[in-house]
Every structure is written in C-alpha cells, then in structure tokens.
Symmetry: C2
Subunit: 233 residues, 2 copies
DNA sequence: GTCTATACATAGATAGAC
DNA sequence: GTCTATCTATGTATAGAC
C-alpha cells in the first residue's frame, strides 16, 4: 500500500501550487497583478477562511474576522474577490478540480478492479488528509451555497460515487467481487472515507494515522466483497 | 428484523410528544402558559427552524425568516425563547435526550452481543428516519454552537460510539465476533448510520427504504465480524 | 496595492399598544 | 398572548487618501 509520504511526492497539492492555480483561473476577477504577491495573499486569505469557517461556519465569519485573520484590511480583501459568495466559490471549485484530477490519476494508474478499488480508497483518504480543511469546508458548507454551486457540489458527490460503482460492477463481472448492490456499497465506502476528514479531531486524539485507517477500510471492504467460498468465478 | 412501522408503535416520538417534553423542560423560560397553545406554537417554531436551517444554515436564518415560516410575529417568538442561542439549545438537548432514551431501551431489550448490535443499528437508523431533520440539524450545526453545547455534542457522539464499542468487545470475548479494532469498527458503523440521514435526498431519489438500508448495513457488519472459518470460539 | 473611513442594509432584540 | 414599531449593533461593500 502506498504511504502518505509517497503519495505527497506523487501528487502536486502544495498550498503554493493550489494558490497559483486559483490565480490562473480567476485572473480576471483579481485586481492585484503581481503574481508572487497574489499567491502569498491568497494563501493567507484561504488559510484564514478555512480556519475561521471550520470553527464557526462560513456565514458566521464576518469580513472583519477575515481581515483580522488574514492580516489584510477589508479594503485589500476586496482586491482579491468581489463578494463573499465569490470567495466561497473559488474555494469549492478549486477543491473539486484537484480532487477529480488526483483521483482519476490514481485510478487509471492501477490495473484491474481490485487494485483500482484500493487506489481509489487510499487516494481519497490521502488527499483528504493533505487537504483536510478544504474537504471539511466543502462538506459542511455545501448546503449553504447559492443554487448553482449547490448543484455542482451534488454532481461532484455523485461523480465520485460513480467512480466506485463502475469499479465494483467491473469487479463483479470479472468474478473478483461477489454480488452486492453496487450503489449501496459505493455509498457506504464513501461514508467511511468521509468520516476520516469529518471527524479528524477524533482520530487525531486517538493517534490513528491515515495509513492505519486506510488499512482498516481496505480490510473491511475486501471482506465484504470477497466471493463466498465455493462460489468463486 | 423490526420494521419501521413496528418501531414507530414501540417508541413515542411524535411531534406533539416531543414539544410537550420541551415545554416541561423549559417551562421557566417560556412566557406563555397555556399548554396546548405552547405545544402548537412550539411545533410550528421547531418545524420552521429545522426546515429553514437545514436549507441554508441556522446562522443564516434570520428571525424574520423564522417569523414568516412559523406564522408568528417576531415579538411572539420571543415569548417562547429568550435568544436565538436558546432556541438552538432547546433543539439540541431534546434531540439528545430522545436518542439516548430510545437507543438504551432498544439495546437493553435485546439479548446477547449479536442481537444487541442489530438492535443498536436498526434502532439508530429508524430513529434517525423518524426524526431526520433533527438529526441532520444536530450534525450540521454542532460545530457552530457556543462552547458549552459543542462539548455536549461531542460527548454525545462519543457516548453513542461507546455503546457500540462495549457490544463489540463483549461479542469478541464470547467468541461470536472475530478480533477487530473495536473503536475503528464502531466509528465505521456510526459513519454508515450517519450517512442515512445526512444524504437522505440521495437515498430518497433512489427509492431506498430505511429497511433496505438497515438490511444492507447488517449484512456488511455481520460479514466483517464473522469469525474466520476454522477459528470459531 | 493597501489603508481608513464610511455608506447602507439587515441582524437580533425589546417596548408598549392592543 | 400577540402584534407593530423601533432601538442598536453588526454585516457587506465601497470611495478616496496614501
């Protein structure tokens, strides 16, 4: 099984990298033009937004809070986004982009349903570990978003589930998994993966590492999908 | 397995019953005294609060929203609670009281770890089905609560988990379950149970009933805990 | 580019008429 | 018991100095 350290070397999800991508995607809306300055301040803004929002909710975070947390004045903040809604939108979209890219890469690099399933589970867990505040924020704030973005969030949730469904169905056809309801199985796997970043405080206080957790989830899923003895193929 | 209909007959969790309990617990804070009037209006207030909050967040729900949704004026609302914080507090505390009572009842009525585990899983799912908006609200708003109540919410989450841990450990000692990490197992079971009320929209659109879901979860858990063949006892 | 100062809307909460 | 009207604080957003 891939370790977290190996995963980090494989994928490019540093804070700097993410902020550069966001800058590239939103260059038209950001009034400041000097790249290194933008990247530095975007990093501060996102750090503060995630930290404050994850503690008391995005809606409850005032721009005065954000100003204090990021070290920029309220006036300066509005050089990086034009409204609070746009700020949340930048965070959500970027998170989705990265998730899709990384998971697709991980799965396509694997051969056969059994390995693909492992890759999707481990990849999801590691990515959510590296970007925990982002994942937590996306989950918790999804329902409070404007309509258009809420739809995108739902679509994204279902797309991630579909990835698992396809792998499960293929595995079933090849006889490496026993017959189960693929959508319920995929939903349950996702639920357990989400628990990792939603209850991060719990696992941290118990000193459960993401590798421990990944091994546990893999064991559970493998036992559930193992063909009943005598029924193989 | 208990059906949802049987469960409903067994436990007393009607809206009226809940509001009567809340009235009893908060009689000192509620200025209106005529019981049937209080119960009727509390029901309206809680319905509207859960409905609006679950759509866009409790903090984003203004008292003007709540006034419109409940059909009471803002002045009248303040006859039933003294602040918005107190309102959320009443909802959370009542939800916890009921959950604890119902789950304890369900589990103590069962004999032996295998049946107790089933009772806890099915009881949790059915209760969250009957009180879905309540459960969803409690989960989503927990982190936005004032400190004291956030602590109570965490304690409640851990207590529910401990219930599962104790059953799992007992089952292991008696040899009916194989050896697993009881806390990770309990956490995973909880995660799957929570998915039922957190993603209610998804399961509803797929016409998955709570009984279907319960059977699926029981199957998963049983396969995971089944002693490896040849290792029984 | 960033700041301070401020405009304007909306929030929670209450007073006093009915 | 409930309403309307209103107080005060706080919210988002912007204008204009530096």
């Amino acid at each position: 099984m891939l370790t977290l350290a190996q995963f980090k070397n494989l994928v490019n999800v540093s804070k700097k990298q993410i902020c550069e991508e966001i800058f590239a995607e939103n260059a038209d809306k950001i009034k400041v033009k000097k790249p290194e300055r933008v990247v530095k301040n975007l990093a501060r803004i996102f750090d503060a937004t995630l930290s404050i929002s994850n503690a008391k909710g995005f809606q409850a975070m005032s721009l005065r809070d954000l100003s204090e947390g990021s070290g920029l004045s309220m006036g300066a903040l509005y050089s990086y986004f034009t409204s609070k809604d746009e700020l949340v939108s930048m965070i959500q979209e970027q998170g989705r982009r990265i998730t899709t890219r990384v998971l697709t890469d991980q799965v396509t690099a694997a051969d056969g349903p059994a390995d693909q399933l492992k890759a999707a589970i481990v990849g999801h867990l590691y990515l959510s570990e590296v970007m925990q505040p982002w994942f937590y924020f996306s989950y918790m704030e999804a329902k409070n978003l404007p309509k258009k973005q809420r739809k995108e969030a739902i679509a994204s949730e279902l797309a991630a589930e579909s990835l698992f469904v396809r792998i499960l169905e293929q595995g079933r056809r090849q006889g490496v998994f026993r017959e189960t309801d693929p959508r319920l199985t995929a939903a349950a796997i996702k639920a357990v993966l989400q628990d990792w970043y939603l209850k991060r405080w719990k696992y941290r206080s118990r000193k459960v590492t993401v590798e421990n957790y990944a091994r546990f989830v893999l064991d559970w899923v493998e036992r559930f999908l193992a063909p009943d003895s005598g029924e193989a193929t």
